[in-house]
Amino acid sequence: MPVQCSSCGERRAMLKRPKTGHSLCKECFFWAFEEEVHQTIVAAQLFKPGETVGIGASGGKDSTVLAHVMKVLNERYNYGLKLILISVDEGITGYRDDSLETVKRNQQQYDLPLKIVSYEELYGWTMDAIVKQVGLKNNCTFCGVFRRQALDRGALMLKVDKICTGHNADDVAETVLMNVLRGDIARLRRCTAISTASEGEGVVPRCKPLKYAYEKEIVLYAYFKKLDYFSTECIYSPNAYRGYARTFLKDLESVRPSTIMDIIHSGENLSVREGVKMPVQGTCSRCGYISSQALCKSCVLLEGLNRGLPKLGIGKHHRLHDKILTKQPLTEAEERKLRKSVDF
């Protein structure tokens, strides 16, 4: 029995909104989805007219939908922005090749300029090479750190004013849960921020226009709009601990669909007691990137790779950073610890 769309009341409802449970026709859903992103952008004052905005494009559903919606809204509401797609090539054979093809297709479909930055050109290491050195246990640490910087460096090269990424509501909620489980108060406070201000040299301000969009709705949007995206999991298995938080979130969503937003609301409204110790943000003495230690994570990891010490940067070796910075030789015991056998 066909149900009427609860918004226009005319057309047949084609889907049920995961976020609110309302039955909507395609057109009304598209419009509601896009309008919500627009309201988010306006309310949070994410952009200024005339800015150049880099869209972190991975070929996945989030960034594909983000690129599409940004283009639509930019035209519909005259944001006056210059949009560029920035894609990061981690050098993972098979996985990345396909997703990059998708991004290139996006470029043509949306008629947006595209810039690809690769780990190879930035750091001299592909993920494949890193895994060979480091193994499968900590490779995600490397990838995560490097990607963050890669996006910034690409953005700087293109003289981009802001970067926007496709982080969705599920991602933000999951991060809140993770931070509670890890007891990481500092991150808990920051993780619901919709945009980060410029925190130093070499760091471009970022924002998440899709912050309040449910992942399921992003998929629905892409599906009905027939947007093309690449949906395979990274072949190097992801962090197992985050998987627990993700499963919990998905289960919560099935009990009460609003929990995704409810968790974000909680994250936005909690306040930290005065006097709680927080790490101080400084800058890396080698590359100038933001860091709470003398050397930023990226530099430490790279140093480890280049010197054949795969465990440098995994775990806490802060005391050794000074030695590395001043290029002092490490003792044999220190080297042994850092070179410890890696498990695959």
Binding site: S6, S7, G9, E10, R17, K19, H22, E27, C28, F30, W31, A32, E35, E36, Q39, T40, A43, Q45, S58, G59, G60, K137, N138, C140, T141, G144, V145, R147, G166, H167, D171, V176, V180, L181, R182, G183, I185, R187, Y212, C234, P238, N239, R242, D251, L252, V255, R256, S258, T259, M261, D262, H265, S266, G267, E268, N269, S271, V272, R273, E274
Partner: protein, 503 residues
Amino acid sequence: MCQVDEDYNGQLDRDEVLSFSKKCVKCKEATAVLVIRAGDMFCSGCFKEYFVHKFRAMLGKNRIIFPGERVLLAVSGGPSSCSMLNQVQEGLSQNAHKKLRFIPGIVYIDEGGALGLSVEERQRTVDELQSMFKATGFPYHILPLEEVFDLPSSVLEESSPSSEQPDITYKAAVDHFIQTNRNCYLSPEKQADLTGLNIQESHTHSLQQIFGSIKTLTAKEDLLQTLRQHLLVHTARSKGYSKLMLGDNCTRLAVKLLASISLGRGAQLAIDTGFSDLRYGDIITVRPMRDYSAKEVSFYNHMYNVPSVFIPTLDTKTTDKASVLRLTESFVTKLQAHFPSTVSTIYRTSEKLQTIQPSPSSSTAHNWDKCLLCMCALDTNVVEKASAFQATLISELLSQRRASRPVDTASPTLRPEFQGPESTAAGGVGCERAACGGGCCSSVKAPESTELKSLLCYSCQLTIKDMSSADLLPQYILSEAQRRKRRSQMREEIREFLLDEDY
């Protein structure tokens, strides 16, 4: 793109199987019989010492219960609250080391009415508990939850502490108490409050109607907790107690913290799970069991024969996904089994947070910025910048009849013209109410539910949303709601003439 965050080092390794050295870590002589936390093994004697000491230290460290104060112990019959009762007994006994010095009373609230239990079943449980309470020698009060229908609406207002509380320091109070050598024992005839449950059948029916009208178990649990809390506070107040002691243990609080986050109670986390809760003003709630894990409590109760009564609750024998709380409990317990520091890490988070309450004042004029049900500061201010709350309002609005969509003056960021796709519909059936923030056009909710929304915090709004009609709530809640609305209207009318913005 892979969303792995770079700084999580994946350090959390699963625990290894314990080696069987088996000697108590404390006395190093006797064989260990219990493992707590990640690898601390205790023998029976040392464990008892540790357990007993922790209770006294918790109260002593926090210095919030003054000597001679009347403290009401909320006992649910479960292991933690019974353990708490047992500790209080031990602590008050004459020869106790670091004797406790307050005057206790016990309260038990029978919730069988909400669960649909028969009167006989309820009476059986009460009888069992009554003999347990009698054995302690403390005065006890046994109340059916149905008594919420007799609550005055003043229970929802923050009361200022009675002027009896002098401005003396804790240490001075203790010294004074010892000097005057006050005795904490009570005469036995003051003990019994009720020999049987005094239940009004019509109230039971009303109670069942309320819970029957709630669609989700999550909302039922939340409302039950709210009503229970109101009744506890009122009992403490009316019987002359100034403190309320709850038996929540560490495991329970870690679960509560995570569940609260999932329910949108981020702003209220500290007050919901911390050691002390000052939201009621004159009655202060304390949680002295919060450092004990569920395992420690269960083990102690078993070893030292601390009686407890198994009483079914709303979510007994339900599946894992029946409610948010149930799911969270299952998740935390399972995760704890793999990563033994889970509970303590989550629990520690609560200690680093605070709950911002509106500044207290002697007048009750501030009640409109507190939630009607949970009495915490409202976290639903719709301001210019983006927030999850505002996003949910927008989503509701955009998913409904466009023709009757009002211009929401409360949130100026919403554009008055909703262009949308082509539509030939001239106007739809919709309600004319403006500035309702969405929700009123849905055919599911009766208009009454909307009227409470502005008086509730984010999370309590979600609970009421699951009720088919808020009119079923007890009178004390409804009349207080109406009173607040009238006052709010008055304020709106005379706003420009008020010199003090906060009044």
